[in-house]
């Protein structure tokens, strides 16, 4: 499992090859991504068991941020969105943003989230 895992894939390209040709990460990158994901998961579980921290207002935002970081790392590196064509990014990020706004809108609608003026 050496660094020769690095490769160029051209299965998305034809015509203007330079526009779509992309390089996927190598084994070293995948290994680091897996390690980071594991460490973040361990951190999430660890703070879950700290009563003094779970009682604070920082608990939920911290977990949400850590989860968002994990989500982004998997999408960027394992799903190759960092390296792939912009159309794929639009096809994923567009619905994701819309779905997230819908989720937040529903939470406001049902009184789980409030804005205090």
């Amino acid at each position: 499992m050496a660094a020769d895992h690095s490769h160029s894939t051209t299965h998305d390209s034809h015509g203007d090859a330079s526009a779509h040709e992309h390089t996927h990460p190598d084994w070293g990158t995948y290994k680091w991504v897996a390690l980071i994901l594991t460490l973040i998961t361990a951190l999430e579980v660890w703070i879950y068991y700290i009563p003094s921290f779970t009682a604070t207002k920082l608990f939920v935002p911290t977990l949400l941020i850590l989860s968002a970081i994990k989500f982004t790392i998997v999408v960027m590196f394992y799903m190759h969105l960092k390296y792939d064509a912009k159309l794929f990014r639009a096809l994923f990020v567009g619905p994701l943003v819309l779905a997230s706004f819908t989720l937040v809108g529903l939470l406001f609608l049902f009184g789980h989230l409030k804005i205090h003026f």
Binding site: M1, H5, H7, T9, T10, H11, D12, S13, H14, G15, D16, A19, H20, H24, P25, W27, Y30, K31, V33, A34, L37, T38, T41, E44, V45, Y48, T54, F59, V60, L63, L64, L66, S67, K70, F71, V74, V75, Y78, M79, A85, L87, F88, L91, F92, G94, P95, L96, L98, A99, S100, T102, L103, L106, L107, F110, H112
Partner: protein, 216 residues
């Protein structure tokens, strides 16, 4: 003659005929499907969050509950250590998946078989954890009919489990093809599409693990 020209072009393009976008249509389709799945799981997660804390009777996810009629005490139902391990298993399955795809692209048949099998096995282990969790919940008195938490929890995690099951079947199909005649680098797109689905299932679980299991 024309077919030969297209085939030559397809071979240069990595196995797909010319498209108006210059991108593989199969890959566009899977990304569009994943986009639609974002809405699907957002609706299920929304439902869970809306019903969160509105159950009139226990068992509850994070706190103990005493049944006033019988005096029976139900402990907090979620088992965080077990779910943490199953989350780790699913994350490692994503690592195995990218290594399987990488092996197919390189034409390394031995590694592709090993990593495809590893991904399927890790997916099956995750499903085993989920089956254990569901069974223990039912034994502890939480079913899909018990309360709002039970209904929304089983629907959300059950649908996710169904997606993992579909992914495992997909992986086993690819593994069968790889063992039967071998997956060539030109067919790497088939593994790539499966990998994208598998990683999406993984990111959905990342969200579920935080929103359902960790946030009290």
């Amino acid at each position: 003659m024309a077919t030969a020209a297209i085939d030559t072009h397809a071979a240069h393009a990595g196995g797909h005929p010319p498209t108006s976008t210059g991108l593989n249509n199969t890959k566009i389709a899977i990304w569009a499907f994943i986009g639609s799945e974002c809405f699907f799981f957002a609706s299920l997660i929304s439902t869970y969050l809306i019903y969160r804390g509105r159950s009139l009777v226990g068992p509850f996810p994070h706190e103990a509950w005493t049944d006033p009629a019988t005096g029976h005490v139900f402990p907090a139902i979620l088992n965080i250590p077990v779910t943490s391990v199953s989350t780790f298993v699913l994350l490692m399955s994503s690592l195995a998946m990218v290594l399987a795809h990488s092996a197919v692209v390189r034409g390394d048949r031995k590694s592709s078989k090993i990593w495809l099998a590893a991904t399927a096995i890790l997916g099956a282990v995750f499903l085993g954890f989920q089956a254990y969790e569901f069974t223990s919940f039912v034994h502890e008195g939480l079913t899909i009919h018990t309360n709002l938490f039970g209904s929304s929890f089983f629907i959300l995690t059950g649908f996710h489990g169904a997606h993992v099951t579909a992914g495992v079947i997909w992986l086993l199909t690819l593994l069968f093809i790889d063992m039967k005649r071998g997956l060539t680098p030109e067919e790497a797109i088939n593994v790539d599409v499966c990998a994208l689905y598998w990683h999406f299932v993984d990111v959905v679980w990342i969200a579920i693990f935080t929103l359902v299991y960790l946030i009290k």
